[in-house]
Symmetry: D2
Subunit: 144 residues, 4 copies
Amino acid sequence: MRTITHTVRVEFGDCDPAGIVWFPNFFRWIDAASRHFFAECGVPRWEETAKTMGVIGTPLVDTHTKFLKTASYGDVLHIRTQITEWRDKSFVQTYRIVRARPDGEEDVILECEEVRIFASKREDGKNGIRAVPVPADIRALVEG
Amino acid sequence: MRTITHTVRVEFGDCDPAGIVWFPNFFRWIDAASRHFFAECGVPRWEETAKTMGVIGTPLVDTHTKFLKTASYGDVLHIRTQITEWRDKSFVQTYRIVRARPDGEEDVILECEEVRIFASKREDGKNGIRAVPVPADIRALVEG
Amino acid sequence: MRTITHTVRVEFGDCDPAGIVWFPNFFRWIDAASRHFFAECGVPRWEETAKTMGVIGTPLVDTHTKFLKTASYGDVLHIRTQITEWRDKSFVQTYRIVRARPDGEEDVILECEEVRIFASKREDGKNGIRAVPVPADIRALVEG
Amino acid sequence: MRTITHTVRVEFGDCDPAGIVWFPNFFRWIDAASRHFFAECGVPRWEETAKTMGVIGTPLVDTHTKFLKTASYGDVLHIRTQITEWRDKSFVQTYRIVRARPDGEEDVILECEEVRIFASKREDGKNGIRAVPVPADIRALVEG
């Protein structure tokens, strides 16, 4: 199973008055890791897939996330991303965020399991989105 | 069980290139709703509780969140917050985000169940936090 | 000259490890105040104006901002917005952010003067935007 | 004069419904570049300088920023940072954000000139900060 690592550096402004990462920022990095996973597999920008297969992105429908250790500015975090399950109109994407320790081991900061869909614009012209079947071309790029 | 409602307005900048709320912003609003819940119950600012009971905040340790409908800018969202369970060193806080419909009903946008702790600064002087027993005074204010 | 006030509440997560508002959040609120100004004048959503007059929004081209006092969570801030000058393809929008004091006076937190344009999508199909002349209909709504 | 470059990658979630970077995110990157400048010069974390010289950070008091070209997700931006002037209790920090072009030239995306102060906690125990004289040790590290 393909694992792709996305690395981020925690900044001063990512931290709250307690001096630790304010948790919505972890979801910012997870969303970037999700997109990077597809980009690394060769999936084009969503503007492109919107034209070629009607897919405008992979919005989140469910997340289950455990926050195991805190992080603070200056920390370098590695986000390891996989797709662990394909369903008809959705898929499971998982993330493990780790930080290197001086002794060569790693601290696990966060574990996240998401369900995402491939989305198209609604066909009735209204604002909003709808789920479409997992595009075979995208799945092939990921599994390739 | 006490329910406290926090209302937010979705702004243009809260939305992504697909025109819908970028999901980390929901967690921004949920975190605000969590703090407002305590503020409405009469719990002072965390700087105050840091001095009086050693509590610097209520960091998140687990979230399970379902995204049921999309939202976009101009939407007014109501976040209904409860504490549904008290444990020794943690508590369960739940959120239901709804949007009024023209017909008088409500669309449910998101449901979230969190585990949070009451945190103190670490005693060894290092950066970071540790969980402390649920302060009886805070629980009394919430249940009052 | 029309002044429209937009009110925001500072949240815990808007503050940095120094316990004060992290400054990019002021620009988040200013951008919301800019859009609210037009909304209050009766200008429809940008998806609508995109169809009727080719305008997708009012991106910023220049900001000059003075930060006069700090703010922290729990503060209620009032943002007073005006359009102080119309140019051919741009306009000047100004903001004054104040906080009520217990003695009935106000503290000025921030003063900001911006130049914004009315933008259309590029005509060559590439990603990006271009400035268009100030739409007479929008100016009439604001000056009405 | 020392120039330090900080590089960021624009993410999907950094962009607004017009598909371009939502401008408050530029200030997020500028603030990170400001801190990186000091870190690269050898200035320790603000918790350290708080203990050794009473300095908790370098809050912004004035910014003048020109937005010259738009950017979108996938773009890699280089932020070139300098300190161009030292005053008694403040300093001028400037930023130039560029993007490499396929022809080997660079597009200038943004130019920013800031005034920042070195801040201490207020001495009267109230929330808030005050400006202190530029610490000679920090200036020496930057000019070294």
